[in-house]
């Protein structure tokens, strides 16, 4: 529910001040027309208190019922009706309270139209201000909801991207384990452990989106170990990192899809041994990681470049940093290179 404008202290003070000014003004005018101060003040107090009540009524009503489009005519009617009601009540009370003063009845009779005009004007103003206030309030709420929804969607997408797992990898690993069980049960058991640790990592739903580079490398190692069992001596990896990069931060599970892409590309495109190289260094404020894999320019599929695995990396980097230039790939001779930059400055 939206709050009334009077929930804000500043508006409350203004509201009361305006009321006091009206009160004084009204009293002075009545006194000016020849009534003693007592009568003038009583007149002013009764009239303005009733007006105050009417204003509060309008404000509160609009809080629950905000006119749209053509319904403004209703608001006008309500204002008019309230003003008339106010006038009748005021006249009644004033007559009861002040009729013994000489000439007051006459003055009251003559001032009714001016009293009506002023009250109608004031109530109209209050109504308009309230409508504006509540509309703005509603808009703001809508905006807030939208931002919230966007934030949620972004988090969900980030989570999904993080735990992306290629079914191929999972089923082929299970198949390898199946083969090992018969001939080399100890290795089979080890691989089950590695696969579980790896899977546990991908479904981890912690808020900690960020890990240190050395933690990420440990996780990557699990993945590489599994792949090495699968592909035997066809797959070799070389990791070369500057010591200064160990404590740098990286979004968790960012590296694995990049390396997975390199392995697929390398292994599926060449028939001999494949060496995947990974270099990491600190460049300015960024953690810079370069992954290289061999490929055969003659036969590699034309969809070279940002395959699905890399697309998800790119999307993650965009969601996290709002930049599209952090992932770069290029192919030179028979080496395909993926370079990813992780800015360190903005991490909160």
């Amino acid at each position: 529910m939206t709050n009334s404008p009077l929930s804000i202290l500043k508006f409350r003070i203004i509201f009361i001040l305006v009321w006091l000014v009206l009160l004084a003004d009204n009293a002075m005018v009545i006194h000016f027309f020849g009534m003693p101060w007592t009568a003038a003040i009583i007149d002013s107090a009764i009239g303005n208190t009733l007006l105050l009540l009417a204003s509060l009524l309008v404000m509160n009503t609009l809080r629950f019922y905000l006119p749209r489009g053509t319904q403004y005519i209703n608001i006008f009617s309500i204002c008019l009706f309230l003003t008339i009601l106010w006038l009748i009540l005021t006249k009644l009370f004033l007559r009861l309270a002040l009729s013994e003063y000489e000439g007051y009845s006459n003055l009251l009779q003559h001032s009714l139209s001016i009293r009506f005009s002023i009250a109608f004007l004031l109530l109209g103003c209050i109504t308009l201000i309230s409508i504006l206030w509540y509309n703005q309030q509603e808009q703001k709420e809508k905006e807030d909801r939208k931002t919230d929804a966007e934030k949620l969607a972004k988090e969900a997408e980030l989570f999904k991207l993080r735990q992306q797992l290629q079914p191929h990898f999972l089923f082929n690993s299970l198949n390898s384990i199946n083969a090992l069980i018969g001939s080399r049960p100890v290795e089979a058991r080890k691989m089950v452990q590695q696969l579980s640790d790896f899977l546990r990592g991908t479904i981890r739903k912690e808020e900690t989106q960020w890990v240190t580079f050395s933690e990420e490398l440990q996780y990557l190692q699990l993945y590489l170990d599994i792949e090495k069992v699968r592909f035997g001596n066809r797959l070799a990896t070389v990791i070369d990192m500057e010591e200064s990069t160990e404590e740098l931060k990286i979004p968790t599970l960012l590296l694995q899809p990049i390396v997975e892409n390199a392995i697929k590309f390398g292994l599926y495109d060449t028939t001999g041994e494949t060496i995947i190289r990974l270099y990491a260094k600190k460049e300015g404020d960024d953690l810079l990681i370069r992954v290289e894999n061999p490929f055969d320019p003659e036969t590699s599929s034309p969809k070279l470049g940002v395959g699905f695995g890399l697309q998800s990396v790119q999307r993650r980097l965009y969601l996290l940093f709002a930049r599209t230039d952090l992932l770069v790939t290029n192919a030179k001779e028979n080496i395909f290179t993926t370079i990813v930059k992780v800015p360190q400055g903005l991490i909160s």
Binding site: P167, H168, F171, N172, L174, N175, S176, I177, N178, A179, L180, G182, S183, V229, R230, F231, G232, R234, L267, Y268, D269, T270, T271, D296, E298, T299, S301, P302, K303
Partner: protein, 246 residues
């Protein structure tokens, strides 16, 4: 004694097939191969009765390898996960094993093959291939045989295709290559935004077209970047205009 070849890029995946085959003394593994090239050579050399074939492999896929064999032997596919392929298999009789599979399932596949090998296995393999390779994910390249060599052509390098009896001539920068397929097959499997059947006997790569000139009555001719001229029939002209947004 039946000869068996196992083609899979993962050594452990091959070893499980070998292990399960111990139940079938009438089947003898004559060779194990780690990719499609090796597989192709081995098939020619040994003329096996049955092959176990993985789909995702280095260089060329299992499907592409089969396309290059004129009379494929019985095939049992072994694959981890391939939604397109599975769809293709399901509608046909050739068996497939989803990794990981157990001995029981393996024995069933062998039994199925035993039943079928008397009933024209090539035809079935052929129909699986047709539907598998025309699935949308497949065709971004065409694998052809060029003498003893295997050539992989990216579809973006194809100028146009021309019908030639039982074959299709694939015209590229380096001349043309022959593929034992139908025009309809290519029309269906190639990206329709890139390749348009301009004529009963021609499919043209629209990105290669530099201009289209009128030619005789009712027909046109498309001039390609390479200077080649491709006939465009009246209905073909309509299709071209649609794709080019004219």
């Amino acid at each position: 004694m039946n000869k068996v070849i196992i083609i899979d890029d993962e050594p452990l995946a091959r070893s499980i097939v070998v292990e399960y085959l111990q139940n079938h003394p009438d089947l003898e593994v004559v060779q194990q191969c780690g990719d499609g090239f090796e597989g192709l050579k081995a098939i020619q050399q040994h003329q096996p009765d049955l092959i176990f074939l993985d789909i995702q492999m280095p260089k060329i896929t299992g499907f592409e390898m089969l396309e290059l064999i004129e009379q494929p032997p019985g095939v049992i596919f072994t694959t981890a996960f391939d939604e397109y392929a599975i769809k293709a298999f399901e509608s046909h009789a050739v068996d497939y094993l989803l990794k990981p599979f157990n001995q029981e399932r393996f024995d069933k596949a062998i039994a199925k093959w035993n039943e079928q090998k008397t009933n024209l296995p090539e035809k079935m393999t052929q129909s699986v291939l047709e539907s598998a390779s025309s699935s949308p994910a497949q065709r971004h390249r065409i694998v052809v045989r060029n003498g003893s060599k295997i050539k992989i052509i990216s579809v973006t390098d194809v100028f146009y295709l021309e019908a030639a009896d039982d074959y299709v001539k694939i015209h590229t920068q380096e001349g043309y290559f022959l593929k034992n397929k139908t025009m309809t097959h290519f029309e269906q499997s190639l990206d329709e935004q890139l390749f348009v059947r301009s004529h009963r006997s021609y499919i043209v790569n629209v990105q290669q077209i530099t201009r289209i000139d009128p030619y005789e009555k009712d027909s046109h001719v498309a001039i390609l970047r390479s200077g080649a001229k491709v006939p465009v029939s009246r209905s073909g002209y309509g299709r071209l205009k649609e794709v080019l947004g004219l």
